[in-house]
């Protein structure tokens, strides 16, 4: 009996203290898989005493479904900017309190300006990492099939049916993300990558994709990393850091596979993954602390060193390995940068048209 009383007392005390302390020391983070340095969370926990519950997802779609159904339970989420724009419209985020983000000034000002097209006034989000959507190549297999003068720096590699036909047997794959592939094709065709012309979508864009469709082995947004590293596929439309990871893994396995990543000369899409706090987050204070932590130069340098994606903190660049910062496929040179375009945000009607075109295309209908 005494023990029970003691327990009750202890619980009452615990409740009282958490009440006084405003927030329990917990933070629920939902991030992409393999998208943070090994020690980042441990450092944050050690510094703040906040316990991080860290879950991972593999696609923007799954994250969005959770956000839209509400009460995800997460305090920090990491959608890509195009998805974020729509989620802001749906009203799922809370505005950031900049007074709680002293490191905010570290952010890259021109980039923040660019991002206002997705997040007006930068009210709801800060950029985490960014990259390009380009082509990963198995150099050996591709050269063997196309000879030395292969168009390794052009989208012809995947969008020209004659060339794609020659590569079909060693495997071409494409991201399963129409909202990135369609602007890329538009850009390849010399059209405005931000075009929302349905006639163009179901006409020229679809024709281009249909022509190479028989040569594409699969559409998937993550499987290609492993397959590229193993030599199971030879050309893949994918995300910069993921392909660099494949490169790394092939090196490590010493299996004779040489992977390279190119930003084609026609230009490529630029994407940003953003940090945001859901409206119904139960630990917004801790979330702000975490966001602030992720704007520190040393922290972001550590993350970039681990995942090989550039970040939005210019001051961190000198702490990042030169191998990464000097690689134009990671940090594009100013000339390449001129050809990069940001992926557009689509209205629901075009959204539906695009995703249907994509489903039909994939199934070969």
């Amino acid at each position: 009996m005494k023990a029970i009383k003691k327990l009750a007392l202890a619980t009452a005390c615990a409740v009282a203290t958490t009440g006084a302390m405003a927030e329990e020391k917990v933070l629920n983070v939902y991030n992409w898989s393999d998208y943070i340095a090994e020690d980042t969370l441990a450092n944050f926990e050690a510094e703040t005493g906040i316990k991080v519950v860290y879950d991972v997802f593999d696609s923007n779609d799954v994250l969005e479904a959770k956000l839209l159904s509400g009460k995800t339970g997460y305090d920090v989420v990491v959608p890509s900017a195009t998805f974020l724009a729509r989620q802001i419209q749906a009203g799922v985020f809370q505005p950031l309190d900049r007074s709680k983000l002293p490191q905010y000034e570290n952010l890259d000002a021109p980039m923040m300006e660019k991002l206002t097209s997705h997040d007006p006034d930068n009210a709801y989000s800060i950029p985490y990492l960014w990259g390009t959507t380009g082509i990963g190549i198995n150099v050996g297999q591709v050269t063997e099939r196309l000879g030395e003068d292969m168009p390794a720096d052009s989208w012809d590699l995947v969008f020209n049916p004659e060339i794609a036909a020659k590569l079909a047997d060693c495997g071409i794959t494409m991201l399963d993300a129409w909202d990135e592939v369609v602007p890329t094709v538009l850009n390849y065709l010399g059209e405005d990558p931000k075009s929302t012309d349905t006639a163009l979508l179901n006409g020229k864009v679809k024709d281009t994709l249909s022509a190479v469709r028989p040569h594409i082995r699969y559409f998937h947004s993550s499987q290609y990393i492993n397959d590229l590293a193993n030599g199971d596929v030879c050309v893949t439309v994918g995300w910069s850091g993921d392909i660099l990871q494949a490169m790394d893994r092939a090196d490590e396995a010493e299996n004779g596979v040489e992977v390279s990543y190119v930003i084609p000369k026609e230009g490529a899409g630029l994407w940003f993954d953003m940090l945001a706090i859901p409206k119904d987050a139960s630990h917004p204070e801790n979330a702000h602390k975490f966001l602030d932590f992720l704007m520190r130069k040393d922290v972001m340098a550590g993350i970039s060193n681990y995942v090989w994606y550039p970040n939005a903190i210019p001051g961190s660049k000198e702490m990042i390995d030169e191998e990464i910062t000097s690689d134009p496929s990671i940090y594009p040179t100013p000339e390449v940068e001129k050809n990069l375009f940001t992926f557009p945000v689509y209205a629901p009607k075009f959204d539906r048209a695009g995703s249907r075109m994509w489903t039909a295309l994939k199934s070969g209908k």
Partner: protein
Amino acid sequence: MSTNKTNKLSWAILLGGFAFLYLPIFILIVYSFNESRLVTVWAGFSTKWYGELFEDEQMMSAVWMSLKIAFLSASAAVALGTLAAIALVRSGAFKGKTLFTGMITAPLVMPEVITGLSLLLLFVTMSQVLGWPEGRGSLTIWIAHTTFNMAYVAVVVSARLRELDRRLEEAAMDLGANKFQVFIYITLPIVAPALLAGWLLAFTLSLDDLVIASFVSGPGSTTLPMVVFSSVRLGVSPKINALATLLVLAVAMAAFIAWWFMRRNELQRQKEIRSAFSQ
């Protein structure tokens, strides 16, 4: 002569069938001892993946989460499913029995995507209207798994209950046992194998479920299939092969022990029957 031929044929069929069923499992076991990270290359014998498995916190916590949910949902499903089976077989007619029968069998055949989607929408609506469940997590996964598992348990147990000879129970009652005693001493021991089978089935189904859990999960409730599914990104790690090998080993051992006990009981019973006759 011809029976000999048929025997040979049936052995060939069994061997072929088992080869098909066990080929992937055999591969898993072999490659869990592979030195190389790549699944297709053999680079020498090594047990290092077993060590790495136990050091991988994310995977181990997912394993625990899955085992916990599987254990709890299988147990709840056995309780609810047995009640449902009794209601189906023993309760005679009651209002809404057709609906009840339909609802018991429907989860068996409901495609997972629909079950997952509908439960997610239910939890969303409930938390809006009732404020419960507050968020999604292991509780909501448990509810979802219990729901489809109880259907399986109900089917398994009701089949056994129907086979049960009612005269045994009646005889016991004639001898003065009350309903409760009859249930404990007569009905339960006879239905027990079905309860065990139902529990094991439910445990497995829960352990395997990816689709429904991905719909209704929340923070800190990542289950093993979710980890395995997302590991396709960097290829299936030999750690997962090691985990699968341990699973196979545990299951095989449990199954063999169960079989041995069943066999012993059977022999015992035959002996008793024989001695009863000889007296």
